[in-house]
Amino acid sequence: MRILVIEDDKEVASFIRNGLTQAGCNVDHAANGRDGLFLATTESYDALVVDRMLPGIDGLTVIRTLRASANTTPVLILSALGEVDDRVKGLKAGGDDYLVKPFAFSELLARLEALARRAKSGVDAPATVLKCADLEMDLLRREVRRTGKPIDLQPREFQLLEFLLRHVGQVVTRTMLLEGVWDYHFDPQTNVIDVHISRLRSKIDKGFERPLLHTVRGAGYRLDG
């Protein structure tokens, strides 16, 4: 993946840069909005990481300018402002996802991969069947089968599995699940998500030789064949 990081804080920038480079990404860095905008318009990237507060041109203006010139590169906004209205403002400006500082690197990476993947798959024709190895989900008939055998899921388990299937092969963090499946942007104190995952796992993996739903230590979960 080729990623542009627009971030003025040197520590944060090198933290992101090192992490992404280790994860096999090709990373460019701009320390202010003007340089960032220049790089983003002249080079081609799989995704941008844009800090909201930047010297000169601020992050939201950078995104708005890009969107106004029909640049659709997915953007992940980084911000110290984490309230709902800040998030809404960021997404309205044209951001695709919003991550509040401080963040765990695994969270950033998972979200970036999800964004880049979504962009690559293009304007996905509304899929009616989602698949992972021998697991199949029919969205129209609301049915799930593995090796042809039907699996009975609760509505929320169905949503959870749908989210995982849409991010198949990628790490999905607990916060991403809470946002994507429950539409909550706060952290419940106890990790209730884990319990939901373990229930789902027992339904789709139990009795099958090859597990599909994996736990990624210190990051989240991954559905993979």
Binding site: E83, V84, Y184, H185, Q189, T190, V192, V195, H196, S198
Partner: protein, 461 residues
């Protein structure tokens, strides 16, 4: 140049405007009295003269100039007060009869119009009517109008005095009013300046008159109380942050120092540091959120929220976790109850309550969420069958960082209920902790919006 302060006050300007209005009214009234009174007297005088002329003319027609002269002489003799004036003059202006010495200069005899002149001998103002009579003779009949003139003078000066007096009174009144308003406001201004200078305990004085100034002072005082409370709250947060974050941060520092000094730092040690730091951050974020809630930052985004789906969602979110702990969790929300608020905050509140309930309920226990409407209140209750909270600790647990002794073994930062309390207050609600014998029942009471009225189906036309 700036006007003196007093003259810039609003009260003073208003008084000036009223003063002008009053002066105008008094002027108009005087003008009316003046014209009505003088008009009446004028008409009377004129009528008397007219009658005399008529009589004299009759006499002239009856007995010619000689008879007219006799009648004039006779009338003069009879008029004891000397208020009537007559003059019969020959064609070259010489007096034939009458008590006016000569035909007054500038009086045209032909027109039969009213004229005013001053009789040269006595200096008396006279109203008269000239008349052509016979072959070139002229007759002038007049009457003393000293009284009329005097009354006119009087009316004029009365009007003038009246207007002047009104203006003077209004000016004095305006100054007095402005002074008293200024004095009250000056007290309030002095208080606010003292507060700005840092003395937050000052309050605007009340006069007890219950007027608008008292109301202003009361509102200002209420505002100051609120500010003082908020400041105290902030100070408390500051103290709490210092107290509660210093511990973990110090431990983290020590651990990092150990790791840094070790020959071969272990991965586990570093991972443990990250975990500890995450806890510090979580506490910090929770504090920030409470502070934001208390500052009313979410109020602007309040909208109509139905509590029913929130109960359903949170119940469903915790179902699996509860079963894992062998706790039965059920939610009951038979009807939609709408409140004015923030969906996310209300969901977090219920999450915190259910989280606590599930955490402290022993295996085999039950947690129940109930949503009901009681009149214009929404009642959200969470029952558990855990150990409960002793009555004397109940108000304490709503404070930040309060953790009862037996809770210290459980994960948590002691901010859950504090957030619930803050959110409840921002929604104008009430949070009460009660005894579920055994266990705890938390009641969240919020002002409910009136249920949508079921409209009768419109008759088909």
């Amino acid at each position: 140049m700036r006007l003196p302060r007093l003259f810039r006050t609003n009260v003073f300007r208003l008084t000036l405007a009223y003063m002008a209005l009053f002066a105008l009214s008094v002027g108009a009234l005087s003008a009316f009295v003046y014209s009505a009174t003088l008009g009446y007297l004028d008409t009377q005088t004129n009528a008397i003269i007219q009658a005399e002329i008529n009589g004299l003319y009759e006499q002239y027609e009856r007995s010619s100039l000689g008879g007219l002269r006799d009648v004039i002489e006779e009338r003069i003799a009879r008029d004891g007060e000397g208020r009537s004036y007559y003059l019969l003059a020959d064609p070259i202006g010489r007096r034939v009869a009458g008590n006016v010495q000569a035909w007054p200069i500038g009086i045209d005899d032909a027109r039969g119009q009213w004229v005013d002149f001053v009789e040269s001998e006595s200096g008396t103002p006279v109203r008269a009517m000239p008349l052509r009579i016979g072959p070139g003779f002229r007759l002038l009949v007049g009457r003393d109008i000293r009284e009329l003139t005097a009354i006119r003078q009087l009316l004029r000066s009365v009007s003038l005095y009246g207007i002047t007096l009104t203006l003077a009174l209004a000016l004095v009144g305006g100054v007095l009013l402005a002074l008293s308003a200024e004095r009250r406001l000056a007290e309030i201004n002095r208080t606010t300046r003292q507060i700005m200078a840092g003395d937050l305990t000052r309050r605007a004085p009340l006069k007890g008159s219950d007027d608008e100034h008292d109301e202003l002072a009361q509102n200002i005082n209420a505002m100051l109380d609120q500010i003082e409370n908020l400041l105290a709250g902030m100070r408390h947060v500051g103290d709490s942050v210092a107290h509660d974050l210093r511990g973990p941060i110090t431990r983290l520092r020590n651990r990092l120092e150990t790791v840094a000094g070790a020959e071969t730092p272990s991965r586990e040690d570093l991972a443990e540091c990250v975990v500890q730091l995450d806890q510090v951050l979580a506490t910090f974020n929770a504090l920030l959120r409470i502070a934001r809630v208390e500052s009313g930052a979410y109020r602007s985004a309040f909208t109509t929220v139905d509590l029913k789906p929130i109960v359903r969602d949170v119940c469903e979110l915790y179902q699996a976790a509860a079963e894992e702990q062998h706790v039965v969790l059920h939610g009951s929300a038979p009807e939609s109850v709408e409140v004015y608020g923030d969906r996310e905050l209300l969901a977090q509140v219920l999450t915190n309550l259910v989280d606590n309930a599930v955490k402290y309920t022993p295996p085999g226990g039950t947690v129940r969420i109930e949503l009901a409407r009681a009149g214009d209140r929404a009642l959200l209750r969470v029952y558990d069958s855990g150990p409960g909270i002793p009555a004397e600790d109940r108000s304490r647990v709503l404070q930040r960082f309060t953790r009862l002794d037996r809770a210290r073994s459980q994960p948590g930062n002691g901010l859950g209920l504090a957030l619930v309390n803050a959110v409840t207050l921002q929604h104008h609600g009430r949070l009460t902790l009660g005894d579920n014998a055994p266990g705890l029942v938390v009641t969240l009471e919020l002002p409910a919006l009136s249920p949508p009225r079921v409209l009768a189906a419109a008759p088909a036309s």
